[in-house]
């Protein structure tokens, strides 16, 4: 593997008050494979940036080990580590030209000016912004600065490339464009990368694997599909996308899955039923887009019945909030293609159902 974190913790101590301390990173274990792009995702203050800075060497872990390419690097300063960082603020050297910025790492390695020039030109060609070669940083747009920062990091051919919220200073449209670009370049160079962001959509698009963090701990590390469809806990479910939490109880277990009681009815959930037994209190995780609504007369199949409370028309989709008998939280539903699925109005009585495979079961927290 290329990067390994073993039991990493980082505690920030308030020097004025010994009682006050802040655990930024809490016993994190993580392995990142050669060439893999892993995203650290979480709300602000979850420890993702601190973890990244520990890998780069700008923060020293309070305990634990950092391994890069099979070497323990705890005592190696950031300038000697084989990592390159793309900073949130880009950190372009304002007094150097674009070419000088990109060639900075090679200059430090003692390359000849001629070789630096040709290498910089080469990388700018691959990244498709050769025309900026002689520009000064104050003549660059945000997106261009971003490219310079990326090229400056990549040209050193580091064993690990680190991204610290690289797109947070760009406008929404450019962000979408750049995240595709970053993924393309990362794949083209095959560099092991660690990417920090709080934007889940960004995490979904760029990563091979997402590590969701909260309170300094890893909540779940998995491929994007698993993170979304099978969140390991309520935090991940809630943080990624929108979700309905439905309190339920396992009624029976069989070879296909299990039967679960909730609302005013019951439903068979399969294929996954986890380690639960009959009588366990659980929470069903159902995404709003998995909810199916039908009108209007009662049917026997639908496990939930309710009344439409709020309708928000968004054009391609309609969002509903539905009050459901026997469930204290309103159910959110997103209906795509409303022309085919039908429209509902506030006050309409509806039957609510979902695909057996669309529900994910988590233990109830109480």
């Amino acid at each position: 593997m290329s990067v390994k974190l073993v039991n990493i913790s980082k505690i920030f101590q308030d020097h004025e008050n010994i009682q006050k301390k802040f655990i930024a990173v809490d016993h994190v274990n993580l392995e990142i494979k050669e060439g893999e792009m892993v995203t650290l995702l979480g709300p602000s203050g979850c420890g993702k940036t601190t973890t990244l800075r520990i890998i780069s060497g700008f923060e020293t872990p309070s305990s634990g080990e950092v391994w890069i390419s099979g070497e323990m690097v705890n005592n190696i300063p950031p300038n000697k580590r084989d990592t390159s960082m793309v900073f949130q603020s880009y950190a372009i050297f304002p007094h150097l030209s674009v070419a000088q910025n990109i060639g900075f790492g090679l200059e430090l390695k003692g390359w000849k000016t001629k070789d630096i020039k040709s290498e910089v030109k080469k990388i700018m060609k691959i990244m498709d912004f050769s025309e900026l070669y002689d520009r000064r940083p104050d003549q660059l747009s945000g997106g261009q600065q971003q490219r310079v920062a990326l090229a400056r990091a990549i040209i050193n051919k580091p064993s690990v490339l680190l991204f610290d919220e690289p797109l947070s200073n760009l406008d929404a449209k450019l962000r979408i464009q750049m995240r595709i670009e970053i993924r393309r370049i990362q794949k083209a160079f095959g560099i092991t990368s660690i990417y920090v962001t709080h934007d889940q959509e960004e995490a979904m698009t760029v990563s091979d694997r997402i590590v969701v963090m909260n309170g300094g701990k890893i909540m779940q590390a998995a491929i994007p599909f698993k993170i979304y469809s099978y969140p390991a806990n309520a935090f991940v479910a809630d943080f990624i996308g929108r979700v309905n939490f439905i309190s339920a109880k396992i009624k029976a277990k069989n070879e296909k899955g299990c039967v679960v009681n909730f609302g005013s009815g019951q439903k068979e959930i399969h294929p996954e039923c986890g380690e639960f037994n009959a009588g366990d209190k659980v929470i069903l995780i159902v995404r709003p887009e998995s909810i199916k609504m039908t009108c209007c007369k009662e049917d026997k199949i639908s496990p939930m019945k309710g009344k439409v409370d709020k309708v928000v028309y968004l054009g391609p989709t309609i969002e509903y909030e539905i009050e459901v008998d026997g469930i204290d939280r309103k159910i959110n539903a997103v209906i795509y293609n409303p022309i085919e699925e039908g429209f509902f109005h506030e006050g309409d009585l509806v039957n609510i159902d979902f695909n057996s495979a669309a529900a994910h079961i988590l233990p109830a927290n109480d």
Binding site: N79, F87, Q88, I92, F93, H95, D138, A153, N156
Partner: protein, 566 residues
Amino acid sequence: MLKIYKNWVRKSSQEIVHITKDPILLLFILAIFASLIIFIVYPLFKVIIVSVFSKGQFSLGILKEVISNWYFRQGFYNSILMGVLTSILGAGIGFLFAFTLARTDIPLKKIFHLVAIIPIISPPFIGAMAIIMLFGNNGLITSSLLGIRNFKIYGFRGLLFAQVITFFPVAYITLRGVLESISPTLEDAAFDLGGSRWKVFRKVTLPLAIPGIASAILVLFVETLADFGNPLILAGSKFPILSVQAYLQITGMYDLPKGAALALILLVPSISVYFLQKYWVARKKYVTVTGKPTASSHKVISPAVKWILFGLCVFITAIILMIYITILWGAFAKVWGYDNSWTMIHFKYVFSVGFKAVTDTLIIAVTSTPIAGILGMIIAFLVVRKKFPGKNIMEFTSMLSFAVPGTVIGIGYILGFNSPPLVLTGTFIILILNFIFRYIPVGIQSGVAILRQVDPSIEEAAIDLGADSQYTFKRITLPLMIPAFFSGLIYSFVRAMTAISAAIFLVSAKWNLMTVQIMSQVESGRLGAASAFSVILVGIILLAIIIIRLILTLFYGSFKGTMLKI
């Protein structure tokens, strides 16, 4: 208590371990600490020691003697009175100027600004000189125009006038910055909500500017208290001023302990007010700048008020111009007040007999200012970017010479360096050292300001790419600090050229300064020579400013504007 102490020990020991990993950095820090202690703390310490020890014994005798002396007590009251009045009047005029220039669309704004800047870049006693030439016994206005003989310009009236003119530009600069940082949209909003113009000013503009005004008043108070040149020329014996008394004790009576005791008495109010300003008032500033700066509609000032303000600005500008024209005229007049016909005799004098003072001043200023600038940048860098025990003490000590009146420093240097281990009095070195350590705060302030603007990740990026801390400083941080370095350089060069209060104790036959020369010419009544010296002095300063500006725009033009905000 113990817990806090333990924490401090633990934190410091962590930091010590951290810096020992970087021996060059450690060496730098130790060298800076050593020089700050020797050249800032030790002289002050000497002032205190000499005033509270007599014959090797601790005793408050000298202090008691000084305090019980009626004449010295009067000097103290007068100094404080002058400080209070000058600071209030100066801040008032400064505010008037700043408000008019920042908030109205009157003509001649550029000229008003330039004229207000002149007193800042000229020796601080030019006002006093011109006042004597205009209102003194042979004054152009009192004697020649109005025919008044023996008009009493010496003492309270004249001094207050000279000091207000000398120091109001400092308040103007500060308050202009303050007013410009208050978005005019706030005033427009209040006006739009139906407030009268006067109400908008009283309820919005003034309250927002109050911390700035308070800060300007305190700064002026410290400067007036420390002022030496104006009172030496204008105060006269009936209106004693503390800084002059301390000087006369030492140079006239050769009474070092009493001089030191007076210096100590001068030091206490200056230093307390300075730190009151720096650590309390300066922190209360409102920050109202959000988003894009918007142009003011200038609608909140009625045309009548606008033209009244304009008239006042014209009046003040005219007074300043009158002072400088007087000096210029005096430099070319045969015998001021008696025979005002054209002559070059004073300039001939300066370029022959007095020329050594010109070259000495230039050599000392040109040697000391870059050293002060570089040292200031290094300290600023250490204070903003590095962690080491005693960092706050380093910043505090190096800023100390801003708060300490020059007279006190001068006396401290005499006391500290006229006996072994370091005998420096009368040398070139003592003047250089004095100037360096007096003007490092300028470099530190501009360095700190610019470093706070430079995103630390710019330096981290260099380290991340493989640079060590020396290389990063040389290739990244230092070039980014260059504009601040040069603007600090201009300021400390001006200060070095115009310094008098500390330097007057340290000059010798071998090394003399133009300011001291001007003073002695005034004292001996040769106003023409004094004026010629002053004209040359201001000329050199203007030339230096133009050259430094030119260098900046030629080589570092790209630094301006948005460069540092990335």
